[in-house]
């Protein structure tokens, strides 16, 4: 099957948080692959485990209160087996990360030059002069005007969009083959968001990195992703190339989400689709059966699988459970 070797492979990843003596899985059996030159979007609502997935890949969890099982394969290495020292050589060098809140991820007491140069110092043997050249190059690449001056500035002197560009520059510093971006544009205005998304697309074209883009915004997905994985309650419920997902959504959750997007009203009684019930909390999450079943109670129980797995319904399009075949919106005939 594997024609092209994947850059990163996540196999059956489980990340559990400790509540008392029990671990509850926030990420529950996620498998995915990231190829070179691809933007894989992970989309879902708050609490679905998408950020936990990212931090698990990056090894940012402490081992006292978190239990991580499964495999994260990168260059024949299972990252989960690495100790902190080895992990530090991967982080920033092989995997770059872009966080949601640019102000929170920059050190307020360090100049922009020092922040970017820090990662170069750690991972490369460039001398000061070379690092300066590289930082200038990076600032140019992420579209920061007057890089010579900005280099000497502190984070508070920059606007939100500029700060996010700096964060991206840090992630790119060592030309990592993999970039994980966790809600990179959520804190930004639409015009700035458009610029940052363009920038990420350009970077990917230039460097051929694989990008995992984590977001809750389906518009961002439609604008940037090549492939999409939709997450619900710790699991991937649907995975497809982006055109296929928007043209042909299958899983009830994906279809419901797409129907909740605010649109222009056709009539006065036109209402947005609301998903029945609420997302269950981690402790109360049913671990057996289709996790979306309580949200679509009008679909008979027989429609669901006992132990839902991802089925390939068409090439590269995977859907969890069988309920999608019988799904129709409430009050609508199938």
């Amino acid at each position: 099957m594997a024609v092209e070797r994947s850059l990163l492979e996540v196999n059956n990843l489980e990340t559990g948080f400790r509540f008392g003596d029990v671990y509850h899985n926030a990420v529950d059996g996620v498998s995915l692959t990231l190829k070179k030159n691809e933007i894989l979007a992970i989309v879902g609502e708050s609490g679905c485990g998408k950020s936990t997935l990212a931090t698990s890949i990056m090894g940012l969890h402490d081992h006292k209160n978190t239990q991580i099982k499964g495999e994260v394969l990168y260059k024949d290495l299972n990252l989960l087996d690495l100790n902190e020292k080895l992990y530090n050589r991967i982080r920033g060098n092989d995997i770059g990360m872009i966080f949601q809140d640019p102000l929170g991820s920059l050190n307020p007491l360090m100049t922009i030059f020092n922040q970017i140069s820090e990662s170069l110092e750690y991972h490369s043997d460039l001398n000061e002069q070379q690092r300066k050249g590289r930082v200038l190059e990076l600032l140019n690449q992420v579209g920061i005007p007057r890089p010579e001056q900005i280099m000497k500035a502190y984070p508070h002197e920059l606007s939100g969009g500029m700060r996010q560009r700096v964060v991206i520059a840090i992630a790119l510093a060592n030309k990592p083959p993999i970039i994980i971006a966790d809600e990179p544009t959520t804190a930004l205005d639409v015009t700035i968001q458009a610029q940052i998304l363009d920038l990420m697309n350009d970077i990917q074209d230039e460097t051929g990195s694989g990008i995992i883009l984590i977001t809750h915004d389906l518009g961002v997905v439609a604008e940037t992703a090549d492939r999409v994985a939709v997450m619900y309650a710790g699991q991937i419920v649907e995975e497809a190339p982006v055109e296929e997902l928007f043209a042909n959504p299958k899983h009830p959750y994906t279809r419901s989400l797409l129907n909740s997007i605010p649109h222009e009203l056709e009539s006065d009684d036109d209402e947005l689709h609301v998903i029945h019930g609420t997302v269950p909390s981690l402790q109360k999450l049913p671990r057996k059966g289709c996790r979306f079943a309580p949200r679509i109670p009008w679909i008979p129980e027989s429609a669901h699988e006992e132990n839902p797995v991802l089925h390939e319904v068409s090439p590269n399009h995977k859907v969890r459970c069988t309920c999608w075949k019988h799904f129709h919106f409430e009050g609508e005939e199938k």
Partner: protein, 330 residues
């Protein structure tokens, strides 16, 4: 005629400095804005962060002081009087309510939901405790919640539920205008849908007006009848939703609209080209749409239900857009 009129509203904040800490200059958060609010309609106020949209809402409800200009409520000048306890301003206080972005911090954590929702009623009406309870149950029902919720505390609810309680509280004093400042920005898509649906249902039931402040152009399009686009403390374009979205005239509006992500991945490339074209146009024509100080021009009528801030005299012949020309000739 609207029941609330905002006339040439300005909110300026002094910047102090120098040896004697004197006023050096002003930040013009809101700089000459006119708005008429009619019954039963929703007014969308759109702009990027720092454009002054929240300040307008806060000034109308009295959380910020107007530097100049007037807010007229049913013929009565109520500028900077919203917090007055005088009897003659009570009706205004009762009729204008607010829904905040962050429902959690807008509720007293020590109060039960019953008291949270009842507070406006206790301020403005002489209900007996039984009547209050009955009304709270009714209000909770309108926003799709059970009567038991009354005896719980704010932290026991999810974000979406809390925001619905915020809506119920705003409706409790039977207002005419609700200022909704980014009411769904912190919510997930499916929860947002729920809150927006309730807001629209309540609007029909009580013939409410909303001043809907948001940076999300999709949500504003869904909710509003009329829209004002704000930039640098002033309106760049104002008009009916249809006009603004289908026939934008100001370069800033065009830029904002072109930046909305397109939900169709198949037209991605074309959308990107279009967006970059508008962006380039914005950079090239910026001086024609803003005066030498970078200030937005005064609004002028472009056509019925559509005002645009354009240069007062006829624009240069270099402007290719003929529609803009006709706008300038008026």
């Amino acid at each position: 005629m609207g029941f609330i009129e905002v006339k040439d509203l300005k909110v300026h904040y002094p910047i102090r400095g120098g040896v004697l800490n004197t006023i050096q200059s002003y930040v013009k958060a809101v700089d000459g804005v006119n708005l008429t609010i009619e019954g039963g309609k929703t007014y969308g106020l759109v702009g990027e962060s720092g454009s002054g949209k929240t300040t307008i809402g806060k000034t109308i409800i009295g959380l910020e002081k107007a530097t100049s200009g007037q807010i007229i409520y049913e013929g009565q000048n109520v500028t900077n009087k919203a917090r007055s306890r005088k009897e003659k301003y009570a009706a205004y206080n009762k009729d204008v309510q607010m829904i905040f972005q962050d429902a959690t911090s807008s509720m007293n954590p020590k109060k039960r939901i019953l008291d949270v929702i009842a507070e406006p009623m206790r301020n403005y009406f002489d209900y007996t405790p039984d009547e209050i309870k009955r009304k709270v149950v009714d209000l909770l029902e309108i926003v799709g919640m059970n009567a038991e919720a009354m005896y719980k505390y704010p932290h026991e609810f999810s974000g979406g539920q809390r925001q619905r309680i915020g809506v119920a509280r705003a409706v409790a004093s039977d207002p005419k205008l609700i200022i909704a400042d980014e009411p769904t920005s912190a919510l997930d898509l499916s929860v947002q849908a729920q809150v927006l649906n309730f807001m629209r249902r309540i609007q029909k039931e009580y013939n409410l007006s909303y001043l809907f402040i948001s940076h999300d152009l999709g949500v504003v399009q869904h909710m509003s009848d009329d829209i004002a686009i704000m930039h640098r403390g002033r309106f760049v374009e104002q008009g009916s939703k249809k006009e603004i979205y289908s026939n934008p005239q100001h370069i800033y509006t065009k830029r904002l609209l072109s930046a909305i992500p397109d939900m169709d991945p198949t037209t991605r490339a074309a959308h990107k080209v279009e967006r970059q074209r508008v962006e380039a146009e914005y950079d090239a024509q910026e001086t024609e749409y803003y005066d030498p100080d970078g200030r937005v021009y005064d609004l002028q009528e472009f056509k019925k239900d559509h005002l645009v801030a354009l240069q007062p005299e006829a624009p240069n012949a270099s402007l290719q857009n003929e529609k803009v020309k006709t706008g300038g000739e008026r």
